[in-house]
């Protein structure tokens, strides 16, 4: 149709309407418009509004008061903010353990024995249950006096450890709970990846005498690159937006030592004792900027890979 239309337009020459002249350039934008509108309304505008709000002192009800960089200056000296930031870093570092752990389980399960489908589904099970349930299960697991973990430690050492009451251990306890479903998720990503590993290459490598670690490192892993990339992305983002487990298991306690940035933002802006919208927005902005570093990195890598034709 385009082929027919173009010579025609050229033949009729001068009186071309503006629409006709620009049709080619405008059409993609017209098709994009609904999406762009939604994206602007639900993504761009709220982000801009959060930035704007972070310069105010506002309780959500009364008058907004402009305080410029006041919220950010307060953040700079707020010990609770640094605790949250530190915990976010710990989350990020330890959560990434889900990637190698998921890979190990995936390789272990990637064999053909009777009932393997059942085992695979059992290993995948933790990811299916809701995070809230995971949090509840682990808080009972750790619970002082009757928790399985508590009693196990008591049995071994003679003195129980209440993980969620200990300011030094609590974050690790929560991350352990978070790793459980995350490992299952990464495992499933790798299992699908392993399906696409080319048997010819494995065969060829075997003929050349590659075995064990060398086989994994030089033959299997390079073929799993797309799966690794996705696993790292979802894990990093999962670590940064960790909220539900903290909220369910400790509510940020004891005395705020298990807070992460997203939870601290919720606490300041929306919880029972909070309603400091501006301060919450300032925390959100900081979290956004941290996430932006990673997200830009991922996007940059994706664009580069596309250009190189992976």
């Amino acid at each position: 149709m385009t082929r027919a239309a173009l010579p025609n337009a050229r033949a009729e020459a001068p009186p071309r309407s503006w629409w006709r002249a620009n049709q080619q350039r405008l059409t993609p934008w017209l098709f994009l418009a609904p999406g762009l509108f939604m994206f602007g309304l639900y993504v761009i505008w709220p982000i801009a509004d959060s930035f704007w709000l972070s310069f105010f002192d506002w309780d959500g009800l009364g008058e907004k008061r402009w305080i410029g960089w006041g919220n950010y200056q307060e953040l700079r000296t707020d010990p609770a903010f640094y605790t949250s930031l530190k915990n976010n870093v710990i989350w990020l570092a330890l959560y990434l353990l889900a990637v190698p752990a998921g890979l190990m389980i995936a390789i272990f399960l990637n064999q053909t024995v009777f009932g393997i489908r059942l085992y695979k589904s059992l290993f995948f099970f933790p990811f299916v249950i809701s995070q809230v349930v995971v949090g509840l299960m682990f808080s009972w697991f750790y619970a002082p006096n009757f928790g399985l973990f508590y009693q196990l430690i008591e049995w071994i050492t003679g003195r129980g450890v209440a993980v969620l009451a200990d300011p030094d251990l609590v974050t690790y306890g929560i991350i352990a709970a978070g790793l459980w479903p995350q490992i299952a998720y990464v495992m499933i990503l790798y299992l699908t990846g392993l399906n696409n590993v080319s048997p010819d290459q494995v065969e060829a490598a075997r003929l050349d005498g590659a075995r064990g670690w060398r086989m994994l490192w030089y033959v299997i892993l390079p073929q799993l690159r797309p799966a690794t990339f996705i696993a790292v992305v979802v894990t990093v983002i999962g670590a940064l937006r960790s909220f539900d487990l903290v909220s369910i298991m400790t509510d940020g306690g004891p005395f705020g030592s298990s807070r992460v940035l997203s939870f601290y933002m919720f606490e300041q802006a929306l919880s029972e004792y909070g309603f400091r919208m501006g301060y919450g927005a300032a925390i959100a902005v900081v979290l956004f900027l941290i996430m932006m570093v990673f997200i830009s990195g991922f996007i940059w890598k994706m664009v580069r890979d596309e250009r190189e034709g992976y």
């Binding site: 959500g60 969620l164 009451a165 306690g253 705020g256 029972e272 909070g274 309603f275």
Partner: protein, 411 residues
């Protein structure tokens, strides 16, 4: 075709007319509340009584989940205000009063003589010399204890703090937690602080402290924490990881002796199998004999939002809820104390003890730390109390942090 549609339109008009006339006969009074099941039943009975007395008013009660309500109220007050809404007395209602979300109901108080009949809670309903709501219930705090455990170690019920601390050593020797608490939700720890400070420095000091007029690093505050330090080793370890109900279980099982709690905990103790014979109640013991005894009794209230549409009937309802008879019935079902001085209390020994305790209080009645202090200060303060009970050696750092918060919050 034309005829049928015209007939339909006619029918519709008639129906609409009928509907509006029905509405005209009964004025709607919308009431948003956050009751648990037992109080809800009590209030439904009270509302039925109110509707029987005022057949032209239809009270529509919309009940919310207790925790969700605390967030929801901020939305519905500004967006879609009902005619009546539940809330709490003291500083907890200050944000809504200051932002003009609650209506001044001083006229209801004056027209119905509430200044006399509800005198015990009048001060906590007043901001800027005006009344902002009507209280319908409160409950005492104090120490609930396990009588069998006291017998087991041969301890007597203490009247002074020194005796209490001496008892703690006996309990510790028997492997029993002297004081139990569960501070996962933070607030139970504040009850201990409130009482220690009320007994050490008195009501006036406590109000000034929660009102931001006394620095947290002050020696008077340190004196309170010094008393706390005496019992800190005897408080249930790991309290930071358990809910207050879990701590109640420890008391029921005889693993703990005392629990600083509000009277609502009695229901939990009794569900766990305790009876009036095994569960005891005592006022918090005296620390400084020169300080007049003050108590803690959080008050629950009903308010008229500024955006209410049916203000006249709402005021009628407030006057109704304030009457002695209604408060007697309501609180019998709630298991709490009526505020109207002409109300009577039930036979329950804990209710009687509470009534006795509060009606003879010479010092004054505090609401609770998180209702007397502004929300932000309450949060930071309660975290500090929790930390002190876990890491008493961090006291200086905690007080320094609270003091910095005070200087920022009350400016």
């Amino acid at each position: 075709m034309f005829q049928t549609s015209r007939r339909a339109a006619l029918a519709l008009t008639v129906a609409m007319l009928a509907a509006t006339s029905a509405q005209a006969q009964q004025r709607v009074l919308r009431y948003y509340a956050d009751f648990d099941p037992a109080p809800l039943a009590a209030f439904e009975a009270a509302i039925a009584e109110f509707e029987a007395a005022n057949p032209d008013i239809d009270v529509q009660l919309q009940n919310f989940d207790h925790e969700g309500y605390k967030t929801a109220i901020r939305n519905f007050l500004t967006a879609d205000a009902p005619d009546l809404a539940n809330w709490y007395a003291g500083n907890r209602m200050l944000p809504f009063v200051e932002s003009g979300q609650f209506m001044d109901v001083t006229d209801v108080w004056e027209a119905n003589g509430l200044n006399e009949s509800l005198a015990s809670a009048a001060a906590s309903m007043e901001i800027d010399g005006k009344k902002w709501g009507v209280p319908y219930t409160y409950y005492q705090w104090g120490i609930y204890y396990n009588k069998s455990v006291y017998d087991q170690v041969g301890a007597t019920v203490p009247a002074t703090w020194d005796e209490f601390v001496a008892n703690c050593e006996k309990f510790a020797a028997a492997g029993i937690d002297c004081i139990t608490t569960g501070t996962k939700a933070l607030w139970p720890g504040a009850g201990i602080f409130d009482y220690l400070n009320l007994r050490t420095n008195g009501y006036e000091h406590h109000m000034q402290l929660t009102g931001g007029e006394i620095p947290w690093t002050d020696d008077t505050v340190r004196a309170t924490f010094a008393e706390w330090a005496k019992v800190q080793p005897y408080i249930t370890a790991n309290h930071a990881a358990i809910d207050w109900q879990d701590a109640a279980a420890l008391l029921v099982q005889g693993k703990a002796a005392n629990y600083v709690m509000g009277n609502f905990a009695v229901a939990v103790f009794k569900e766990g199998g305790m009876t009036d014979e095994t569960l005891g109640f005592m006022p918090f013991p005296t620390i400084n004999p020169d300080v007049p005894r003050a108590e803690e009794a959080p008050t629950d209230t009903i308010h008229i939002p500024a955006g209410a549409t049916n203000v006249d009937d709402a005021k009628k309802f407030l006057a109704f809820i304030a009457t002695a008879d209604v408060q007697t019935k309501l609180n019998e079902a709630l298991g709490q104390l009526p505020i109207n001085k002409d109300s009577t209390v039930g036979d329950d020994p804990f209710i009687k003890a509470g009534f006795e305790l509060l009606s003879t209080t010479p010092g004054g009645i505090a609401q609770f730390f998180d209702r007397d202090a502004p929300a932000e200060m309450a949060k930071i303060g309660m975290e500090g109390f929790q930390q002190f009970m876990v890491q008493p050696d961090q006291l200086d750092a905690i007080l320094e942090r609270l003091e910095q918060a005070r200087q920022r919050i009350y400016q």
